[in-house]
Amino acid sequence: MKSTQPENSGFFETLLDSAVDAIIIIDQEGTVQRFNSSAQLMFGYSAAEVVQKNIRMLMPEPARSRHDGYLARYSETGKAAIIGKGRDEHGLRKSGEIFPMRLSVGESRQGGEVYYVGIIHDLSQQRETETKLKELEMQLVHADRLLTLGELTAGIAHEINQPLTAIAAYADAALHLAEKASVTIDPAVRDICGRIGEQSRRAAAVVTRLRMLARSGSSKKADYNMIHIIRNVLLLFDFEMKKTGIAIRIFAAADLPDVFVDEIQIQQILVNLVKNSMDAILECGQKNGQIDIRVEQTPGELLVSVQDNGGGVPLHSLPRLFEPFYTSKPQGVGLGLSICTNIANAHGGTLICVSPQPGATCFILKLPLSFIG
């Protein structure tokens, strides 16, 4: 190659070295001809250590042993595994670290010689982000389950304790009435009446314990930066934002103080609010979907508002929004907002909904800046 176009060589080298991705050029036997600066950074070898050596040294097993075979088969049969297309592979750094990469290979013929040009994009950063995101999602799902359980049991406790109270009272009343009517009561019947009351109180205690258990779901509070929490949450919506074309903007004052919160729980509130906004925008057919997240500080409080142009909430349903089991979505359970409210309360804060203008909905999370617990 050098021999065929010596006059362009300087320009060509500069071009190669300015590329962000690693570019490696090999010949038909797999011998490295060019190893640009990005490749040197990515693999940890200098050009001198790699050029004129076989490309295998940059591959972990099993690709390392198979590569010669690939090249030979391609030259003979023209059947390409990678050449002409791209795929995700693994690379081997000088340090011995194996990393994920996207590899695309092109073919170039220069005066009877065949060269292969590989362009490599390091995926480790991206994979790391993806893993982190997956972890975050899993944490959120787990926390969500715990809270949903807590919310369900709280709801159940309320619905069940009332009839249990009535059952116990009826049993006691029946026993007493029979006694007063001078009916001779079989001791077994007296025993049974006593047990009815006892057992209904036992049932109530079970529900109470379950509720306590769900509530004690480990809450880990520390000082967090709210903007950081919001950015993390928006990562989860990256795909949906692209798919739906909904724009999310963050407005925040400078120098916001940290808040003492359980990060996962606050993320849960925000995920719920953003998800609600997206659903509302999609449902009302709004073409220019827009969600604005604002963070402001008032004396003693940090306000986070999530506002959308998704048609607004009918005035009559505003007061019911935060009730458990209330939902406007056909597939919803109606626990999201009531869980959010409970989280806000557990942080000494509140969650409210306002209609700033027709067609818009705004949820405001207020968190106290001075708070113990």
Partner: protein
């Protein structure tokens, strides 16, 4: 270090302990902290505290046991429970047994400060009352038996002449006794003396330490 006028904080969670201490300190309220009820009990008992903030769930002796012990011993300061796991019966019982208040975590600074200040106020008023009573007792004890007789009749509203007749002494002697009584009791006027006599008769044994907080019920 004297714990006079300090708030006593007992909580096994260091973060909470420090946060409470800082918060109260910022409001000019000095504190002494203990990491457990046992640590508190291991120290020489100090009755100078103006208020106690007590966690319920603690390793070793728990907050409720310590509370019962202090109530039995008539600890001369209000006790406020702070707990992360308060249920209704627990809270209600604590109040019925004489806890000053019951706070469930999380709580806001203002809420806590308000309650602590109220408790300190109650504690100070009760102490002042008690101290006055002690002083009054002391003054009364310096009076001679005859002077006490005169005082008794005086506060009943008898004029000098009537007192002289009742005690079969001369009005001039009554005059002298009366002057002594007023001086020894440091009373400025007859109504003042009447008020003092009333206080003394309300606490015949001088033991006003069983401080009854208005909130306490049996």
């Amino acid at each position: 270090m004297s714990t006079e006028n300090q708030v006593c904080i007992i909580d096994d969670d260091e973060a909470i302990r420090e946060a409470l201490k800082l918060l109260l300190f910022a409001s000019g309220i000095p504190c002494t902290v203990f990491a457990s009820a046992d640590q508190f009990l291991a120290n020489e008992r100090d009755e100078g505290f103006t208020c106690m903030l007590l966690d319920i769930r603690m390793p070793g002796t728990d907050g409720l046991s310590l509370f019962h012990k202090l109530i039995r011993e008539k600890a001369p300061y209000p006790i406020i429970f702070i707990t992360g796991h308060g249920d209704i019966p627990l809270a209600v019982d604590a109040i019925k047994q004489g806890a000053f208040d019951f706070l469930t975590k999380p709580f806001q600074h203002g809420e806590l400060l308000g309650k602590v200040k109220a408790a300190i106020g109650v504690c100070r008023r009760e102490r002042k009352k008690l101290q006055n009573l002690h002083e009054l007792k002391h003054c009364y004890n310096t009076c001679t038996p005859r002077e006490r007789d005169v005082m008794k009749l005086l506060v009943e509203g008898l004029p000098n002449k009537g007192i002289a007749q009742t005690l079969a002494i001369s009005p001039r002697t009554v005059e002298i006794h009366r002057a002594h009584v007023m001086e020894k009791m440091a009373a400025e006027s007859l109504p003042d003396l009447v008020r003092m006599a009333e206080l003394l008769s309300n606490f015949p044994d001088g033991n006003a330490a069983q401080t009854e907080y208005p909130e306490a019920r049996d």
